[in-house]
């Protein structure tokens, strides 16, 4: 069962990218306080994303003809691993680089590829994903935002919500209904590239429980788009989203969201010369190693040209469980030594991760949805 998830190695040629990433990280990230770095892939810095583009670290999996680097998913794994373990603020380019550009490359027209991908690879064009709506969360097929054909293209009406970084993005790739009604489920859905500067689009940031505003509501009021807004085939949106979610769910960001906190805690324990938590550190280190092996195994399926939807769900569900466990056990360890001084920075970082951790198993598919996908992969439904 799931026999293709088997031990794989990162190619040496891709390992060589680490030095390039470390150079950029040393210049832009090293000085950031711990709790900023703990924002991980929620940390937004458009300047940093452009610096990565200049260093040739974006669009790794895309062809050179479109400004990419013609490398494979393993190269992206290496770069992402380095960025996340350093706590680099990668949010600005994250979605465009991870899924929008591969989606446009896979399903878009030649003109769309030329228009968007080179600027994504330079870190200049930022994308968000329009999936959730007020009435459509896990039940994505029930989306109500509509796009209707006009003489000049499309007109869009409706609303998206929980859209990460919509207020900073240039474009949204939105899942919308182009025919039928919500009762038609997967049929009649399409993906449109929506210019967020277009007339009739309004974006309202939503503040989260940590005080950050990383997601937003987006309203579409008779937004007129050209015929070239459609990406891929009309009515194929559901299938395209499935392929996109395999990219979204399979990366190492699903195991490393709390790793800045883990490292800070280990340094603290080393600093106070305490060894009573050695077994806990051993257990967490082993889990991280196992998840890394699982994530590389999943990356190998991407590299083999597959769309590892079920495999990615396995890695993401277990990975986010690990990410969520870290603040719980680290908080317990620190407070189990109530007379031991804990730096304000470490305490802030711990509480930030504690508060934001529930989102780890919501974004990109909830735990329950992922387990349903795995169960289907086991032939149970």
């Amino acid at each position: 069962m799931f026999d293709t998830l088997t031990l794989a190695e990162l190619p040496d040629a891709d390992e060589d990218l680490r030095a390039v990433v470390r150079d950029v990280v040393a210049r832009h990230v090293a000085g950031l306080p711990l709790d900023r770095r703990a924002r991980s892939w929620q940390g937004f810095d458009a300047g940093f994303s452009r610096a990565l583009g200049r260093a040739g670290l974006l669009g790794l999996t895309l062809p050179r003809a479109y400004g990419g680097h013609g490398r494979g998913p393993f190269a992206r794994f290496v770069v992402v691993e380095e960025l996340l373990s350093a706590g680099a603020p990668v949010a600005a380019h994250w979605i465009a680089d991870r899924q929008s550009a591969p989606l446009i490359h896979a399903f878009g027209t030649e003109a769309q590829r030329q228009q968007y991908i080179p600027r994504i690879c330079r870190g200049e064009l930022l994308f968000c994903i329009g999936m959730s709506e007020p009435g459509s969360g896990s039940d994505l097929a029930s989306v109500r935002t509509r796009a209707d054909r006009t003489d000049t293209g499309w007109v869009v009406n409706g609303q998206k919500i929980w859209t990460t970084n919509a207020m900073h993005s240039d474009y949204m790739i939105a899942l919308v209904r182009t025919s039928g009604s919500a009762a038609d489920r997967h049929a009649g859905l399409s993906q449109l590239i929506i210019n967020l500067k277009a007339q009739g689009v309004s974006v309202r940031p939503i503040v989260d429980l940590t005080g950050d505003a990383h997601f937003a509501e987006v309203f579409f009021d008779n937004v007129a788009l050209g015929p070239d807004a459609l990406v891929g085939a009309e009515g194929e949106g559901w299938k395209q989203v499935g392929a996109e979610l395999a990219f979204e769910r399979s990366g190492p960001e699903r195991i490393y969201s709390s790793v800045v906190l883990l490292d800070a805690w280990v340094r603290h324990v080393q600093g106070v010369r305490r060894s009573d938590c050695a077994a806990l550190i051993g257990r967490l280190t082993a889990e991280l190693a196992t998840l890394r092996a699982m994530s590389i195994a999943c990356t190998a399926r991407l590299a083999a040209g597959e769309s590892p939807v079920v495999e990615a769900s396995i890695v993401k569900d277990r990975g986010t469980g690990f990410e969520q466990e870290l603040p719980v056990v680290i908080g317990d360890d620190l407070a189990a030594h109530p007379d031991e001084p804990v730096s304000a920075e470490l305490y802030r970082t711990l509480m930030y991760v504690t508060h934001i951790a529930p989102s780890f198993s919501l974004r990109g598919g909830t735990r329950e949805i992922l387990r349903g996908i795995i169960a289907r992969g086991m032939g149970l439904r």
Binding site: T6, A279, G282, R283, R292, I314, I374
Partner: protein, 318 residues
Amino acid sequence: MELLEPFARLLDDAVSPATIRALEQGASWEPAWAAIAQSGFCDALVPEAHGGAGLVFGEIEALVRALGARAVPLPVAETMLARALLGEAGMAAPEGPIVLAATLAQPVCGALVASHALIDTGDRLVLAALRDMAPAPIGVHHALSARLGATPQGPELPRPAHGLRPLAAAMRALLIAGAAERLTEMAAAYAETRVQFGKPIARQQALQQMLAVMAEDMVAARLAAQLGASRGLAVPRALAAVAKLTTSAAAPRLAASAHAVHGAIGVSEDHDLQLLTRRLHEWRLADGSEGYWAGVLGAMRLGDPDGTVDWVRRSIFA
């Protein structure tokens, strides 16, 4: 793969569930062992210069998982490893099955169905004949482990810096990973056939969620165990720790879920499920549990100033 298929066929013929039950009731191991010994698989890891196939540990990991998947109580994997160590040392190996004993303080797996034991005394590795070791049954129903009482006597091998335990633990992790695969398949298949409330219990979301978590544990166990076997027979302690701790921690969860899905029939002696789950618990406790290896790995990690991902890459994946 070309090795796995004939090996799996061999095991299905030579060590069927009926054979395992007979062994547990005291039947001689010799007929089953004769078929396995004759196949030549026991020399898979022996250097070619000494008449073996010269494979490395990572190339036979799927065979060890196949043994685990069938709950084979004979020390086949142990014998492969022992014969490889003997071959590397230029020493002759006995004909019969050899168990690995990283300690004599606790029961030794499979010692009632073997002829020899490779024993780590703490400062020496000794190949002892079991008839000289006063093997005593441990009093656990149908267990094939034994306590070894005598002082080990016999030919000696060079002892690795950390003894036999890392290698034994890496092998044990593969056995657990194989059992995990079979348990998950059995539970999923049973959920499809068992009808309650007018539909297969596999249609119940609560069951689907539990089985999905089993699958995650099963995949994690496989990858961790494969890591353990990825650097040859001189298994670094960090790799043994990841392999054994991940698989041992998953073992009770996997056994509990498999039994929960099967209901009462899974705890009956007639059902094959208990052949796997009894062995799984035994393997979890052998060669260091998750708690032992967590302490070993944590101490190594605490002694290094690098970040966790860097340390893991360097110590476990390098």
